[in-house]
Each structure stands twice: as structure tokens, then as C-alpha cells.
């Protein structure tokens, strides 16, 4: 599964957000991802991909920033 699909699945399951709203430019906050939900989202990614997010990672603000952060980690290039 690619990164944006995983974000879509997460937002649909947890927050009932329609998949078509999860586009690269969408701010995560507007999709209902507050700081608590962001922690849960990052936890889910770590779990699904067996990766560990850098504690100092800049918190992504948009879907595309989130995707980019995930892609970097999955490629092993932090």
C-alpha cells in the first residue's frame, strides 16, 4: 500500500473522512487531525511499516508533507 492510501484508510476508519478530500494540498488539521490524532497517525505508520519516526521530526502540516516524510523513512533516507 502506498503512503497516501494508508492516510486515506486511516482517516476514513477513524474520522469518517471521505477519500476524495485526502488530496496532497489538504491541511491535516482541516481533515480533523489534531495533535492527539497526529500521534495516533504516526503510531499507525510506525506499526504498519515497521519503522521508527525520528523524535525530532517536524510535524507535517499537509497531506503531502506527511506523505513525503513517510516516503523518506520507507526509503531509509531520513
Amino acid at each position: 500500500m502506498d503512503s497516501i492510501e494508508l492516510i486515506r484508510e486511516f482517516l476514513r476508519d477513524r474520522l469518517g473522512v471521505a477519500a476524495e478530500r485526502v488530496v496532497p494540498d489538504a491541511p491535516l488539521e482541516e481533515l480533523g487531525v489534531d495533535s492527539l490524532m497526529m500521534l495516533e497517525l504516526m503510531f499507525e505508520f510506525e506499526d504498519r511499516f515497521g519503522i521508527t519516526l525520528d523524535k525530532n521530526m517536524q510535524t507535517p502540516k499537509t497531506v503531502s508533507e506527511m506523505v513525503a516524510a513517510m516516503e523518506r523513512l520507507r526509503a531509509g533516507t531520513p
Binding site: R14, L15, G16, G32, L36, E40
Partner: protein
């Protein structure tokens, strides 16, 4: 100090029958049990007990997915009940100009988010995972229900939970009542919720040998308070809420007033963790009457704690006989737990609702499974075994908890 009258302007619950509030009281009055057999798929051995699961409660549909996903089931039940009571009170969910800075919530829960922690243990110990969701912290905390209620309704005053076993929500209601009566709060949301189907919780209650046995056929009649053949209590999940409101405030906004809460007393047996004590219960009952400015002759109905345990029921009747003296034999008493089960932290609240509706509709709901079957050790009061329509002026609702904490609430009918 000036004291304010306290109106009950909102009632709401997640019904053990699955319907709405009128449906709940109609079925309760008809003596219909909501208790069913629960068979789980828990490891290593499934639960197989009479129980109350709120049928058809759909947290996503009731609360919306984003809100429901931030809550353990105990908070979902509590939030749903609080919304129902708030809507019943005719108050808008969004503040509409009037400050809500003195409005608050006191909430009862014996177990809090136990299910969230239990899920974590399963993940760690059964599934061999090493990590847990960060949300488990905010799902599991005991004050999650009252916190969500304050946030959703914009209540800026006190927000606290009361954990006092089976008296949790009676004490929460009593503390809310005192705050409105003193003028500290204009409106308080209060009540309780619990989910005793947590595997470790239900198994522990089983081991205490106080749970009534039952199979799919016998479960509806498994809880038989005051009966000669009573076998113990029946646990259940639930959420029940009341809106308590400064009387003048309620009148000024033209609210429907279901009833008046007039007294609260609480005491400790200070003798034993689980064996109830007549003297402690008498103190709570008498404190409540005094607090309400009522005499025993002014009470027309007692909604008993009545859990159907071997030890508890006779002690409760003995306490009532001590308080009501020569009036006891004619005092209508019923234990609605025979039908809605023992909801632990929601018990006091669902019974307060039953008592308020009894006064409002002038109908005494019965103790189910008791007709012709009263234990001589529980005799001496007027056990109501079938619905009764009669004039009711005021009533008491008792909650006597493990740990020896006793709480009694007094309610008065509104003169129409």
C-alpha cells in the same frame, strides 16, 4: 446562606431496552426485564452470564465517528446519555450568548476506561505486541466522560468524576445538587456510565460469588431482589444523565421541569468492605430526610438499592424499617435492578431517572420476579410487585456501595 431550589430539567440515557426514555419507563413499569444472556469469545474461557448490553447502541451513529473514536465505551455511553439529557432540557449544544462559565459536570464511574486498558493488556500479553496506541491514555482515564461532556457542551465550571463503586453516580448527582443549590453553579450535567463487561472485571465479580447464574432461557429472570430464591446481582453496561438547573433559571427560560431534587445524604459504614451495615444506611437515609426538610411521613416511595445479594437485601430492609418505624409496613419499595440490572457507576443515575419519572407520572415501577416470593428476612415494607398508580409527593433513591459508602437522594414531584 441563601439556598436555591434545584429543578430537574433534563433526563437522558442509553436504554437497556434499546429505545427512548418513554419506552424505558413504560417497560420498567410493565415489569419487563432487559436482562439477557451474555456469551463472549474471551480467552481463555468465555464469559457466560446474565448481563445487560445496551442493544443497538451505535457510538459512530450517535456521536459521529471523530468523537466516538476518541472515547472508550464508558465515555461513549456517558456522552450519549448527556447529549440526550441536554437535548431533553431544551438547551442548545453550542453556547448561545449566555455564559456557561459556572455550568459544570460531575460524573460517576466505578471502572472508568477499564476496557481501554484491558485492550492494551491483550495486545501486549496475548498478541505479543510491544507498543500501545498513544490514545490509550486519554481513552482510559477515569475523567474521560466528564471531560468530553464539558468540551462538547462548552461547560466552563467544575468537571470531575466520582469513583465510589455502586454509589458513584448517586454521589455525583448529590454533589451536583449541592453546587446548584448553593448558587455556585447554574446548571450541572450529572449521572454516570460504566462497562463491567471488561473480562477481568466480570471474572472478579464472578469469583466474589455475588453474580446470579443464568442461561439464555433463565437470564431475564435472573435478578430477584428481596425474593426467597434470589441468587445475586446482574451486572450491566449503561449510561444515564440528568440536567440539574437553578429553579429560577429554568422557569425564566420556560423549561419543562420533570421534578425537583431536594435532599442528599452520604455516610460510611466504617465497618467492613463488603458487608453492609444497618446503622450506616440509617444515617444516610436520615441525613437525606433532614437535608430535604422532609419527615418519613412525607415519603411515598423508595427506589431501593436492592441488588438481590443474600446479605445486602435484608440489611437494606432493616434500615428502612428503622427509619420509617410504624410507617414502614405501608411504605412502597421497589428494586428496579430486577429489570435494568446493576450498572455500577451508572446505577444511581438510572435509578434516579426511574424515581423522577415515578414522581412525574405518579406510577411506581415494580420489583420484577418478586410476586408471592418475598423472603421473610426481607419482609416489613410494602414490596411493590406489580405496577401501581398512586399519588406520590416525594421519593428516595438509595445507593449502598462496596466499601461501605452510602448515598441517598430525595426527589419531590412538581405540583402541576
Amino acid at each position: 446562606m441563601e439556598q436555591h431550589r434545584v429543578a430537574i430539567t433534563g433526563l437522558g440515557l442509553v436504554s437497556p431496552y434499546g429505545g427512548d426514555l418513554p419506552d424505558f419507563f413504560a417497560r420498567l413499569s410493565a415489569g419487563e426485564s432487559a436482562i439477557r444472556h451474555l456469551l463472549t469469545d474471551d480467552l481463555p474461557r468465555p464469559l457466560s452470564i446474565p448481563f445487560i448490553l445496551c442493544p443497538g447502541f451505535d457510538p459512530d451513529a450517535t456521536l459521529g465517528k471523530p468523537l466516538a473514536s476518541m472515547m472508550d465505551r464508558f465515555a461513549q455511553l456517558g456522552m450519549a446519555a448527556a447529549f440526550a439529557a441536554w437535548d431533553d432540557a431544551g438547551l442548545p449544544r453550542q453556547a448561545d450568548g449566555e455564559s456557561r462559565d459556572t455550568w459544570g459536570v460531575t460524573w460517576g464511574t466505578a471502572l472508568g476506561g477499564t476496557l481501554a486498558y484491558e485492550k492494551g493488556y491483550r495486545e501486549l500479553w496475548q498478541k505479543g505486541r510491544e507498543r500501545l496506541s498513544p490514545l490509550a491514555v486519554v481513552l482510559g482515564m477515569n475523567n474521560a466522560a466528564n471531560a468530553h461532556i464539558s468540551i462538547q457542551l462548552g461547560l466552563g465550571g467544575i468537571s470531575m468524576s466520582h469513583t465510589v463503586a455502586c454509589a458513584s453516580s448517586a454521589i455525583a448527582i448529590g454533589e451536583a445538587f449541592r453546587r446548584v443549590r448553593s448558587g455556585e453553579a447554574t446548571i450541572m450535567v450529572t449521572g454516570g456510565s460504566d462497562v463491567p463487561q471488561a473480562y477481568g472485571v466480570a471474572r472478579a465479580w464472578e469469583a466474589l460469588r455475588v453474580l446470579a447464574p443464568g442461561d439464555p432461557e433463565t437470564s431475564p429472570a435472573a435478578c430477584r431482589p428481596f425474593a426467597a430464591d434470589r441468587r445475586g446481582l446482574v451486572l450491566g453496561e449503561g449510561g444515564a444523565a440528568l440536567v440539574l438547573e437553578n429553579w429560577e433559571h429554568a422557569v425564566a427560560r420556560g423549561a419543562t421541569i420533570h421534578g425537583e431534587i431536594v435532599g442528599y445524604g452520604t455516610s460510611s459504614d466504617h465497618t467492613h468492605l463488603v458487608r453492609p451495615e444497618v446503622a450506616g444506611q440509617v444515617r444516610a437515609l436520615e441525613m437525606t430526610l433532614a437535608d430535604a426538610g422532609l419527615t418519613p411521613a412525607g415519603i411515598d416511595y423508595v427506589n431501593a438499592h436492592g441488588t438481590a445479594t443474600a446479605e445486602g437485601d435484608p440489611v437494606e430492609v432493616a434500615a428502612l424499617k428503622r427509619v420509617f418505624g410504624g410507617l414502614a409496613a405501608a411504605m412502597p419499595v421497589s428494586a428496579t435492578k430486577s429489570m435494568h440490572g446493576h450498572l455500577l457507576g451508572a446505577a444511581g443515575a438510572i435509578e434516579a431517572i426511574a424515581t423522577v419519572l415515578a414522581l412525574r407520572d405518579q406510577v411506581v415501577p415494580p420489583t420484577a420476579n418478586l410476586a408471592g416470593n418475598v423472603d421473610p428476612a426481607c419482609a416489613g415494607v410494602d414490596h411493590v410487585t406489580a405496577v401501581r398508580r398512586q399519588s406520590l409527593r416525594a421519593a428516595l433513591s438509595s445507593s449502598f456501595a462496596f466499601g461501605g459508602s452510602n448515598a441517598v437522594l430525595a426527589f419531590r414531584a412538581v405540583q402541576s
